[in-house]
């Protein structure tokens, strides 16, 4: 896209744009309307439904994915903005095994009930532990402040992340 032509300002609402990104390690190309959010593209076009569309305004954290290695709200960007980016969703993180210990601990401690918030919680916890090896409980709570859970009361989620942080730093277990 080097310059803008008048044709780009067409009133057509069905205009689509070809975007390419690397999703969970695989090259993907798809045609999207510019107004389509990344979460809608992931769920509806790529059928990666592990990423959840909750509030769709950046408040609940259910739609977190990793974009070029950083957690972001996939409801707070349009798919076209991610053209050329590397995206990792909960499916990719699960398959690669990098969050297996977090998932096991969430399961063991009942850190989920309905599970709607869980993918976002895991993406967030994964980023936190990659930045801070041994976060305090307060730091964990602070990091989770943008992720809503309406079932658990958060205590078990904080417990699970806390335990994994300790296990990783003590045993190098992953």
């Amino acid at each position: 896209m080097s310059g803008i032509g008048d044709d780009m300002l067409a009133e057509e609402v069905n205009e689509t744009v070809r975007v390419r990104f690397i999703v969970n390690g695989r090259k993907v190309a798809c045609d999207v309307a510019p107004r389509e959010t990344l979460v809608d593209c992931l769920r509806n076009v790529l059928e990666l439904t592990g990423t959840h569309a909750g509030c769709e305004m950046g408040a609940c954290g259910a739609c977190l994915v990793r974009l070029d290695g950083r957690s972001v709200h996939s409801c707070l960007m349009f798919a076209v903005q991610a053209d050329g980016a590397r995206i990792d969703t909960i499916e990719g993180l699960s398959e690669s095994g990098v969050i297996a210990d977090l998932q096991a601990e969430f399961h063991r401690r009942n850190a989920l009930q309905c599970g709607f918030c869980t993918p976002g919680m895991l993406v967030n916890a994964h980023e936190l532990l990659s930045q801070v090896a041994r976060p305090s409980r307060e730091e964990i709570r602070d990091a989770l402040s943008g992720n809503y859970c309406r079932c658990t009361g958060y205590e078990a989620i904080v417990d699970a992340i806390d335990v994994v942080a300790k296990a990783r730093s003590e045993g190098g277990a992953a």
Binding site: M8, R35, T37, M57, G58, G61, V72, L76, D142, G146
Partner: protein, 286 residues
């Protein structure tokens, strides 16, 4: 809610971005981090014909020293404010404010220039540009200009930016060894909008305050300097009587709006509490 259909253009240079805006008859919005703009589009509070993505414009990136100021590129993300060594060394007030800006995932996308351009009266960074006596660098159809932060914020979400103009950088005077700063906010939940927030930068000779700039947010339609309180402190050393005088001056400096959630008297009270705490920390050499 879904955004109304729009066209999308990814600009590689400032000139391309400005040109695209003009061609769209100014029925366009620049998008950087988009952490406030995307929800506004989704809620259809805004519905431009064209979205101009400025995040790939190299000229808008980077933090560097430029003479006696720090030039903070508009695309500097909030998370970079936490990790960039030049920010910590030369604009520590911004480093102190950064952890309070929204949540980690928002900080990974949101940009400094975007926050200043939006001028949300509850946001941390716009208010801190006032405390820092920063200058806003602006590019537009009729060329570039620089504007003092004091002249930038006009009213609720209204700034001196004209249609088609965008912020390219913010220039902050380098932090000096005879300066002290303090920042804090009161919020019901971490990451939530502050009930009241405040940052300050003092220039001192020994314990005497030669100059102090104090800026509040979440107290009205714009980020607000409290000049009465500043005057009450200038030329003095901090003690209980001076702090009380500055707190009393807030009655004239601030006029919080009516609100069901936080009545004006409560907000004013919280502002006095916060000012007292921060001046106390400043006195302790914070």
């Amino acid at each position: 809610m879904k955004a109304r259909a729009f066209s999308y253009f990814r600009a590689d240079t400032i000139d391309q971005a400005l040109d695209a805006h003009a061609r769209a008859g100014d029925d366009a919005r620049f998008i950087a981090g988009g952490q406030s703009l995307v929800p506004a589009l989704s809620l259809r509070l805004q519905a431009p014909r064209l979205l101009i993505d400025i995040t790939h414009i190299a000229e808008l990136r980077g933090v560097c020293r430029e003479g006696d100021t720090l030039r903070i590129g508009a695309l500097t993300r909030h998370c970079e404010m936490l990790t960039e060594p030049l920010i910590a060394a030369f604009a520590p007030l911004l480093r102190a404010a950064a952890p309070f800006v929204a949540h980690p995932a928002i900080r990974n996308r949101g940009t400094f220039g975007g926050s200043v351009a939006l001028a949300d009266p509850a946001s941390e960074f716009p208010a801190m540009t006032l405390a820092l006596d920063a200058e806003i660098e602006i590019a537009g159809p009729s060329g570039s200009r620089r504007l003092k932060a004091d002249d930038f914020f006009i009213d609720l979400f209204e700034t001196a930016l004209q249609p088609g103009e965008l912020i390219t950088a913010v220039h902050v005077p380098l932090f000096r060894s005879n300066q002290r700063f303090a920042f804090d906010e009161l919020a019901r939940r971490r990451g939530d909008y502050a009930l009241v927030g405040c940052g300050m930068l003092a220039t001192q000779t020994g314990d005497r305050i030669d100059d102090i700039r104090i800026s509040f947010f979440s107290v009205g339609n714009t980020p607000t300097r409290v000049k009465g309180a500043e005057t009450a402190l200038t030329g003095f050393s901090l003690d209980a009587a001076r702090i009380a005088a500055a707190q009393a001056a807030l009655d004239n400096d601030l006029a919080p709006p009516e609100s069901d959630e936080v009545p004006p008297m409560m907000r004013l009270h919280l502002a006095r509490v916060l000012l007292g705490r921060l001046l106390g920390r400043l006195g302790e050499g914070a």
